[in-house]
């Protein structure tokens, strides 16, 4: 039971301010006057806020009304609910994620209300933040931070928040404004509670959202792992680049090949490991020579020394954040000696498919050369059975069930013997052999 103060007595209900500073509508009871203090229970609070609720209250009221009135009200109700549906189905505009551990992702609509809350781990699920769906981002943050603090997630010395955001409309100004406000609200909260919590902000790519969810992590963590991996692969490329080029002999090619697959395995192993690693540790990853946060404070790009957009290839910067050489320039680069040797290099494959084929017996597209597969597993990259085998051993056609040649033979026989070829298709593709068309009928 709570105390409340009656401020006004309406026809249908009481307007009350409660001791917990809420303004409420309460079920009316006779004999209560404005200016009196009352005791009420939660069950007496009328929840008629907003248009839909008022509509429902209205519906209840007209329940006993005349049928015509109900019909009219139904129509009105229908119209209103359609309006509510079409207006209510808002699409996500911003994707935000918070990794404190707990890890939480949220989808935020154009009007900065939280549309969906995604708990990326068990700790997050415990917080039951789904209840806050529909609240404003501001209220969500308040409650979220409060819950984090309650559970003691913010109190330890090393507490950090990885805050990531993606604006699906990619309007830099709007999303920057949003994230500034979010950061401000968080900082204010931490300051108010005397908490030492660092906030690391990361711009994420919205297109990875699905993948992040599939992997059961937040978009921010996904982005972080991605950046670490990019950095690592860059480091690997840099160290081994020269060696690889020198060892382009046959034997060297094999070992290189083996090395590649090993690397791949290692990478996917890392990924798994990263996924299970707390964000706090990821942020300590050696690829970030300095903490990205500090870099950001210095006006530097969190990952790259020079902001990619400022890169100047003439100063010796890599022209592309991922590739050593900008894919567009590959092959056209005649100035560099090394490059000249590799002229005609392919923009996508490390090695030009043509070269691979010739030198290493590799196939430009398939990991294993279809030829080898054929020998070992009798597999074809496309067909279950290698068309070549079929052809030789069973007299089958690689593509068609029956060899077109056979067909023609049998058809010819048929037409000779029985004088009829109407039932069976004569040509592998056309129902009637084109050759027979036109003059076939006149012959018979």
């Amino acid at each position: 039971m709570k105390k409340g103060y009656v401020m006004e007595v309406k026809e249908e209900y009481l307007l009350v301010m409660s001791e917990d500073r809420k303004f409420l509508r309460l079920q009316k009871r006779r004999g209560i006057d404005a200016g009196e203090e009352i005791l009420f229970s939660e069950s007496q609070v009328l929840d008629i806020t907003g248009t839909t609720d008022r509509m429902e209250a209205f519906m209840k009221k007209i329940k006993h009304a005349k049928p015509m009135g109900i019909a009219a009200a139904m129509v009105l109700f229908l119209v209103l609910s359609i309006a509510a549906l079409t207006g209510g189905e808002e699409e996500a505009r911003y994707l935000l994620s918070f990794d404190v551990n707990p890890s939480v992702g949220i989808e935020v609509g154009e009007n900065e209300e939280v549309l969906e809350v995604y708990a990326a781990n068990d700790r997050a699920k415990e917080l039951a933040l789904e209840d806050l769906e529909g609240e404003s981002l501001e209220v969500f943050l308040d409650e979220f931070l409060e819950k984090l603090a309650e559970k003691g997630y913010l109190n330890n010395d090393s507490a950090q928040v990885l805050l990531s955001y993606a604006d699906l409309l990619e309007e830099e100004e709007a999303s920057q404004d949003l994230i500034d406000r979010v950061t401000e609200q968080m900082q204010n909260y931490f300051a108010e509670k005397n908490l030492m919590v660092d906030i690391n902000t990361l711009i994420a790519e919205g297109e990875n959202y699905e993948n992040a969810r599939l992997e059961g992590i937040t978009l921010g963590k996904f982005q972080l792992i991605k950046e670490i991996e990019t950095e690592e692969s860059r480091a690997v490329e840099g160290e081994e680049g020269i060696e690889t080029e020198d060892a382009a002999s046959e034997e060297g090619a094999e070992s290189e090949d083996a090395g590649d697959t090993e690397d791949e395995e290692e990478a996917s192993g890392d990924r798994e490991e990263y996924r299970n690693m707390p964000v706090r540790e990821l942020l300590q990853h050696p690829v970030f020579e300095r903490h990205p946060r500090d870099r950001k404070a210095e006006g530097l790009h969190p990952v790259f020394d020079v902001h990619p957009r400022d890169w100047n290839p003439e100063d010796g910067d890599k022209p592309h954040p991922v590739f050593d050489q900008h894919p567009g320039n590959r092959g056209n680069d005649d100035q560099d000696e090394d490059r000249e040797r590799e002229e005609g290099e392919h923009p996508v494959f490390d090695q030009h498919p043509g070269d691979r084929d010739k030198e290493e017996g590799e196939h430009p597209v398939f990991d294993q050369h279809p030829r080898d597969r054929d020998k070992e597993e009798k597999e074809h990259p496309v067909f279950d059975e290698h068309p070549g085998d079929r052809d030789k051993e069973e007299g089958e056609h690689p593509v068609f069930d029956q060899h077109p040649g056979d067909r023609e033979d049998s058809d010819e026989q048929e037409s000779d013997d029985e004088g009829s070829s109407k039932d069976k298709p004569e040509h592998p593709i056309f129902a009637n052999h084109p050759g027979n068309r036109g003059n076939g009928n006149s012959k018979r």
Partner: protein
């Protein structure tokens, strides 16, 4: 020449005359305002009131009492009188409820714990009236306040802090009352309130401000909890 239009009557002036002893006018007014009395009673009782209704006499007595109690400080005579009638009727209902052994269906949960005496209640009601008048000058009433007040405890608490800062800082208070706008910059500096919070919780902040600025002791006590 004869005046075809009667000079506009001012009920407040007439009450003054009645208070000075014009009993004819008193009876005339009482008779004239039967419909008004009935409508006030009907609102509380939710039923049609005829002149032979058991509570009609309560209404008449209350109207008569209101004529004696009224002064200009209490606002409009009729709204003041409505208050008096309602309060008297409620007292009466309560008296009978005690005798009638509670037979109200499932409504008992709502209990009056603190009912000031009649005079005090009237005073409070006038105070509430003054409060609602003030917030209405800012474009909202109690109903909209209920609908727009921050629903989350934390947000509400912050809004109260802001309202308190606004009330306690003389400079901010004066700016607010003069411009009738929440001084965003000053509140940001002194209470760390972001423009957004001010926008979202505007009505609530203003309402709390005027509660702090009123004599509504119960509400002020709630705010201090």
């Amino acid at each position: 020449m004869k005046n075809f239009v009667e000079p506009k009557r001012n009920i407040e002036t007439e009450i003054r005359a009645i208070q000075q002893g014009d009993s004819d006018l008193r009876n005339k007014l009482l008779a004239e305002y039967h419909p008004f009395i009935k409508s006030v009673l009907a609102k509380v009782l939710n039923e049609f009131i005829a002149e032979d209704h058991e509570y009609f006499s309560i209404g008449l007595l209350a109207f008569n009492e209101a004529m004696d109690r009224y002064d200009r400080e209490k606002g409009k005579f009729l709204s003041f009188t409505a208050m008096v009638i309602k309060s008297r009727l409620i007292d009466e209902l309560r008296k009978r409820n005690k005798l009638e052994a509670r037979e109200v269906e499932g409504e008992e949960e709502l209990m009056v714990i603190e009912s000031p005496n009649f005079e005090k209640r009237l005073e409070d009601q006038l105070e509430i009236k003054a409060f609602t008048d003030r917030i209405e000058a800012f474009g909202f009433d109690l109903e909209t306040l209920i609908d727009t007040a921050p629903r989350h405890d934390k947000t509400r608490e912050r809004a109260i802090e802001i309202a308190r800062a606004l009330y306690e800082d003389e400079e901010l208070r004066n700016t607010f009352l003069k411009t009738e706008k929440l001084p965003a910059q000053g509140l940001k500096k002194k209470a760390g309130a972001s423009r957004r919070v001010l926008q979202r919780s505007r009505n609530f902040i203003i309402a709390v401000f005027f509660i702090l600025d009123s004599d509504l002791e119960v509400l002020k006590k709630y705010l201090d909890l």
